[in-house]
Amino acid sequence: MRPFLYQKATDPGMAVQALGAAGNNPLTRATAQPLAGGTTLIDLMKLDVMRPAAIVDINPLAQGWSAIEPRDDSLRLGALAKMSDVAAHDGIQRNYPVIANSLKLAASAQLRNMATLGGNVMQRTRCSYFRDVSYENCNKRNPGSGCAAMDGVNRMHAVLGTSDHCIATYPGDFAQALIALDAMLEITGASGTRNMPFAELHKAPGNTPDIETTLRPGELISAFVIRGRWPRSVYLKARDRQSYEFALSSAAIALDVQDGTIRDARIALGGVATVPWRAREAEALLKGQKFDDGLAQRVADAAFAEARGRRHNGFKIALGRRVVARALQQAVTMEI
C-alpha cells in the first residue's frame, strides 16, 4: 500500500470534480478512485495492485444515493445501497427474486453489510495472477506484459468472451441479474446525469484488458433502474463451498410465461465469462415456446456454443450447460 490523499465527498458535484481532476488514464489506473464499501478497493491497494494517489470517499452521499425504491412498474436502487439491505428487502424478494438471490448468495454476511451495489458491479477480477504483483505477466495490470493465466492455473477463469490477451472472469453475481433484466444505469458526471444500459458498462478484454468499463474518470454510478417486475426469476450458483465463495458457474434467469407459453426469456451467465454475459441466442430459442427438458438442453447448449476452455477450466462448459438447464427448470416450475 502506498500513501494517498483521503477526501470525503460533501456532495455529488464535489465528488465528481475531485475524481475528474485525476486526469485521463483508463479508470482502472486513474489516480483518484471513489471509495464505497472498500471491500474491493482497499484489498487491491493493500496488495499494491491499485495505487491511487487520492481516494474520494463517497459514503457521505448515502443519504441521496442509497434508496431502495420499488414502484408499480419499476425499481430504482441507489448505488450506495448495501448488498445486505437490498437482499433482505421484501418487495425485491417477491418481485425480483433473481436480484435478491444474486446478492444473498454473494460474498459473506460481513462483506454484504459493508459493500454497496455500485462497488459490487465495479469489482475487479479475482484472477490470482492479477492480484499478486509478483507475477509480471498480466495484461490487465501491466498492459503488454502477457498473460500468466493463459497457460497457468486457470480453473477459475472464463470460457466465454475471452481474448488472446486475457481470460479473467468477471467475478460478481449481481451484475448477471442486472444484465438479464435490461437494467439502466444512472451515471453522475461533471456535466450532470446520463443514462446508459447496464449491458454497455463492461467491456470484453479484447486487446485492452486493462480497460474494463466504459465509465470515465470523474463519473460515478448513482443508481440502477429496472423496468417491469420479474417475479418468475431465479439465480442459481454453483461453487466450491456452501457460502462465501465466487461462482464456478451461475445463471440468472427471468421468464415471462403465460398459459404455458414463454413470452419473454432472459438468461445471463456468471462465473464463466469475462464480463456480465447475456446469452441472447439461447434466449431466442425459448420465446414463444412451451417448456420441456429437451428445449432446456438445446438452450443450454446454445448458451455455451462459443465457449472455449483451457487446461483447468474446460469443465465449466459442461457445468454451465447443466446450470442453465436446471435454472430454467426452476424458473418454469417456481410458484409465484
Binding site: R2, Y129, S134, V153, L236, S249
Partner: protein
C-alpha cells in the same frame, strides 16, 4: 450437559470451561504481536518472485526514499548468522535453506530482503518499491516435473529408519483370491493458522526476548541462540497464547534469527508481521504425496497381503518425509506386508509437519483401498475392518496397549444410522441431491516426551503451576490446571497456570499430540512431591510408602484414597509443621523407554518423543471411526457434507469439553482436506498461485451443519501416568477416505485424488 459440554463417562475428567475462555472471547488474550515493545522498528519482508536462480541486483533507491525507512537488509548486508541444522539432524530448523546468506534462491517466496522502518506502513510501502533483477533458472515444481530426482527415504532421512516388511508379500499377493491395486494422490496443503507468523525481538543488553507464536519455545530459544552464537540462557521466548499451530510452528524458521540480528544491530526492538501469503512460503507445508496400495485377501475378507508404496515431494537440500507406512503396515492383521517410501526432490521449500503428518495422506490411501476391497468382496466395510482387527501389530508382533477400534466403529455406526443405509451405490437421493454414506478408521500414535514442571502451593490452597507448555488452542491451560487441582485436592479456581515462556521448566514440542500426556504426567509427579513433603511434615509418625499415587490428600477433596478413607491432614497443620507458608517443588519426568540423554535434550530444546510403534514391547495408538454423509448435486455436481460423526477412544479424557472441541475441529479439518484444501502450484514457475485466504478454501460454518463427536471410555495403564493418549491429531485422519468412500456410494464412481472438486464428479 449439552453437546458442547459432554457428560464425563468412566475415566474422564470434568467438562470444566476453558481456563482462558474469558480472555479469549473478550479479546484480552495477548498474542505475540500484541506484546508491547518500547519504540519498535517495523520489519516487512520482501520475498522472491522466482523459485530458482539468483538475485542479480537490487534497485533500492525508490524504496530508501520512502519516509521513515531505516534500513533495507539484503544478502549483501545481512547480519552474519551461524549455520542452522535440521531438527532431524540434531538441530532446530525446519529447513536448511538459509535466506540472506547469498544471492541464491531455492524456492518461491524465499526471503530476499527485509525493510526496516519507523512504521509498518512505511516498511510495507518501501517493500513494494524494491526493484529486483533476477537470473531465473527453470525450476522443477512437483511430481512429474522435469529435473526432479527420486530416491528411497531410507538412508537419506535420519528419522526414517525402516520400510516395514514382514512375511512374503509377493507370493501371498500372487495367491490371493481377491486383489486390489490402486493409486492415490494428496495435494500440497498449508496450515494457515489464524495468527500470522509474526516475530518481535527485543534485546536488553546481551539478553534477547522473542515474542513469536511457537509450538516449541525451548527449541526456538536454543535454535536462535545457536544461530546468533550466544548462550541459550540469554534467550527467552514468550507466547502465552498461540493462535493455532497445526505443526507450522514446531520447528524454527529462518525469520527469527534474522529479525533478532537486525534488532541487535539497530539496538532497538524490531517487530515483524508477515502477510498471509508470505506465510505460505516462509514456513513449512504438507507435501503432496502419491501412493500405490496392493491388497490381497481371502474371499472371507481376511487380508493376506498388503503393500503400501508412498512418495513425497521435498526440497533440494532436505530429505523431509512423513513416511506413514509405519502406521498403515501395522493397523490391520496381515501376515505378509511390504512397503516403500521415496522422496522426490524439487525446487520447493522444505515441507514439514502438518496436523497428523503421516496419517492424513497415508490413511487416505489405505482406508480408501479397504473400502474398494469391501466393494470387491461385496462386504460391509465395517465388517471388513472387524475381520482384520487385531490386538497385535503384524510387523514386530507387539501387542497394542489398548485398542478400541471396533467399539468406536460400533458406537459411531449406531449414532450415524449406518444400518439404515442401502449399500448399493447411487441408491439414495433427496431431490436434486444424491446421498452417499461412507466410513473409515482413524488412528494416531500415543506419544510422550520428557517434561519438567514447577508447582507452588500456598497455605490457603492457592497453587501456581509453571511449565513451558504451549496453548495452541487445544486447552493446555485447562487440563494442566485440572491435573494440579485434582492431584493437590485444591479447588480449580485456586490454580494459576503459567505456560508459553522458555524461562519456565521445559516441556516438549506441542506436536505429535504429546502435550497433554507429557505435561500432565510431569505436573502429577511434581504435585505428588508436594504431597509427600506435606504428608511427612503433618504425620511424621506415619510411614508413607513411596507410591506417589497412594499419598494422602491435603484437603477433603474426594480425589484421593486417603481423603476418602477419612484422614485428610489439613493444610494448616502441614504448613505449621513445615514452618513455611509456601511449598514449591520442581521435578523432571520422562516416559518409560526414553533415551538416556532425555533430560539433557529436553533442556537443549531437542525432541525425544517415545510412543507409537517405537515402544519397546508394546505399541500404543488412539483409535476412532468416522462416518460421513455426502450429498452430490445431480446438476451442479457440488459436493456437500451435511453430517460428520466420529467415535474416538484415547485413554483417559482429561476434559470432555476440550477433547470434543479438538475432535470436532479435527473432523471439520478432515472434511476440508478432502473437499477444499489444496495449494495450487504453477508448474512452469514452481510458484504457489492461491496463496491467500480468499483462494485457499477452508470450510465456513455453512459447510459443516452437523458434526457429532462421541467419546468412548477407555483405560490404558501402560502408556503414561496420566493415562492419556493424545487426541489432537486423531479426528482429522481418515475423514478424507470416508468422504471419498461416501462419494463412491453416492455416485458409483471412485475418486482417488484429493481434493475432490465438482469437476471430478460423474453422476
Amino acid at each position: 450437559m449439552t453437546a458442547a459440554v459432554p457428560e464425563p463417562k468412566a475415566n474422564m475428567g470434568q467438562s470444566v470451561p476453558r481456563y482462558d475462555a474469558v480472555v479469549k472471547v473478550t479479546g484480552r488474550a495477548t498474542y505475540a504481536s500484541d506484546m508491547p515493545l518500547a519504540d519498535p522498528a517495523y520489519a516487512f519482508l520482501v520475498t522472491s518472485a522466482i523459485a530458482k536462480g539468483r538475485v542479480d541486483r537490487f534497485d533500492l533507491d525508490d524504496a530508501r526514499g520512502v519516509r521513515g525507512v531505516i534500513d533495507i537488509v539484503t544478502h549483501e548486508n545481512a547480519p552474519k548468522l551461524k549455520e542452522s541444522k535440521l531438527f532431524s539432524n540434531g538441530g532446530y530448523a525446519g529447513t536448511t535453506i538459509e535466506p540472506l546468506k547469498s544471492a541464491d534462491i531455492a524456492h518461491d517466496g524465499q526471503i530476499i530482503a527485509v525493510v526496516i522502518a519507523e512504521t509498518y506502513e512505511s516498511a510495507r510501502e518501501a517493500a513494494n518499491r524494491v526493484k529486483i533483477s533476477y537470473t531465473a533458472t527453470a525450476p522443477s515444481a512437483t511430481f512429474d516435473s522435469p529435473g526432479t530426482t527420486t530416491a528411497a527415504a531410507k538412508g537419506q532421512n535420519a528419522q526414517f529408519k525402516e520400510d516395514p516388511k514382514v512375511g512374503d508379500f509377493a507370493k501371498a499377493f500372487d495367491e490371493a483370491e481377491v486383489k486390489l491395486t490402486a493409486s492415490y494422490d494428496t495435494p500440497t496443503q498449508h496450515h494457515n493458522p489464524m495468527e500470522l507468523f509474526s516475530t518481535s525481538c527485543a534485546w536488553m543488553g546481551d539478553n534477547l526476548v522473542i515474542y513469536e507464536p511457537s509450538q516449541y519455545v525451548y527449541g526456538l530459544k536454543n535454535g536462535v541462540a545457536e544461530q546468533l552464537g550466544i548462550d541459550a540462557d540469554k534467550v527467552r521466548v514468550v507466547n502465552p497464547y498461540v493462535g493455532g499451530g497445526f505443526g507450522s510452528r514446531g520447528s524454527m524458521t529462518p525469520r527469527t534469527a534474522i529479525i533478532a540480528g537486525i534488532a541487535k544491530r539497530l539496538n532497538r526492538p524490531v517487530k515483524l508481521v508477515p502477510t498471509r501469503d508470505q506465510g505460505f512460503t516462509i514456513t513449512t507445508h504438507r507435501a503432496e504425496t502419491r501412493h500405490e496400495i496392493k491388497l490381497g485377501a481371502r474371499r472371507d475378507g481376511k487380508l493376506i497381503a498388503l503393500r503400501h508404496e508412498g512418495a513425497e515431494v521435498s526440497s533440494r537440500p532436505d530429505a523431509y518425509c512423513v513416511g506413514g507406512t509405519k502406521t498403515t503396515t501395522r493397523l490391520y492383521a496381515c501376515p505378509n506386508v511390504d512397503s516403500l517410501v521415496s522422496i522426490v526432490r524439487a525446487d520447493r521449500n522444505t515441507p514439514g509437519f502438518m496436523r497428523s503428518p503421516p496419517e492424513v495422506p497415508y490413511l487416505f490411501a489405505l482406508e480408501s483401498a479397504l473400502d474398494e476391497l469391501a466393494v470387491k468382496l461385496n462386504m460391509d466395510p465395517v465388517e471388513l475392518r472387524r475381520i482384520n482387527d487385531t490386538t497385535v501389530e503384524p510387523i514386530g508382533g507387539k501387542p497394542y496397549t489398548s485398542r478400541s477400534l471396533m467399539a468406536c466403529f460400533d458406537e459411531a455406526a449406531k449414532a450415524f444410522g449406518w444400518a439404515q443405509r442401502s449399500p448399493a451405490p447411487k441408491s439414495m437421493s433427496d431431490g436434486d441431491w444424491l446421498i452417499g454414506h461412507g466410513c473409515a478408521a482413524t488412528c494416531y500414535p500415543t506419544q510422550m516426551g520428557p517434561s519438567a514442571a514447577r508447582v507452588r502451593l500456598q497455605r490457603d490452597g492457592r497453587t501456581r503451576v509453571e511449565i513451558a507448555g504451549h496453548e495452541i488452542g487445544t486447552g493446555a491451560y485447562t487440563v494442566i490446571a485440572q491435573t494440579a487441582a485434582e492431584r493437590l485436592g485444591v479447588p480449580l479456581e485456586k490454580v494459576a497456570v503459567f505456560i508459553g515462556d522458555s524461562d519456565l521448566p521445559p516441556a516438549p514440542v506441542a506436536g505429535g499430540s504429546n502435550s497433554t500426556a507429557s505435561t500432565c504426567s510431569a505436573v502429577m509427579m511434581v504435585c505428588d512431591q508436594i504431597r509427600q513433603r506435606l504428608f511427612k511434615a503433618a504425620m511424621p509418625g506415619d510411614s508413607l510408602t513411596d507410591k506417589a499415587k497412594e499419598t494422602v490428600g491435603i484437603s477433603p477433596a474426594p480425589s484421593t484414597q486417603a481423603a476418602k478413607s477419612g484422614r485428610p491432614p489439613d493444610l494448616d497443620k502441614a504448613f505449621d509443621a513445615l514452618g513455611v507458608s509456601i511449598v514449591e517443588e520442581y521435578g523432571e519426568w520422562k516416559p518409560e523407554g526414553a533415551p538416556p540423554d532425555s533430560f539433557r535434550a529436553m533442556h537443549n530444546g531437542q525432541v525425544r518423543l517415545v510412543g507409537g510403534h517405537t515402544m519397546k514391547d508394546q505399541i500404543a495408538y488412539a483409535f476412532g471411526a468416522e462416518f460421513v454423509e455426502v450429498r452430490v448435486n445431480r446438476f451442479t455436481h457440488e459436493i456437500r457434507c451435511p453430517r460428520l460423526v466420529g467415535a474416538f477412544s484415547a485413554g483417559r479424557i482429561m476434559n470432555p469439553r476440550t477433547a470434543r472441541s479438538q475432535l470436532m475441529g479435527g473432523l471439520i479439518w478432515g472434511m476440508s482436506s478432502a473437499l477444499l484444501e489444496a495449494t495450487e502450484i504453477d508448474e512452469r514457475t514452481a510458484r504457489y498461485v492461491n496463496d491467500n485466504f480468499a483462494d485457499y478454501l477452508v470450510p465456513v460454518n455453512a459447510d459443516v451443519p452437523g458434526v457429532e463427536v462421541i467419546l468412548l471410555s477407555e483405560q490404558d495403564d501402560h502408556i503414561n501416568p496420566a493415562g492419556v493418549k493424545g487426541l489432537g491429531e486423531l479426528a482429522n485422519v481418515g475423514t478424507n477416505a470416508a468422504i471419498c468412500n461416501a462419494i463412491y456410494h453416492a455416485t458409483g464412481k471412485r475418486i482417488r485424488k484429493l481434493p475432490v472438486r465438482l469437476e471430478n464428479i460423474e453422476v
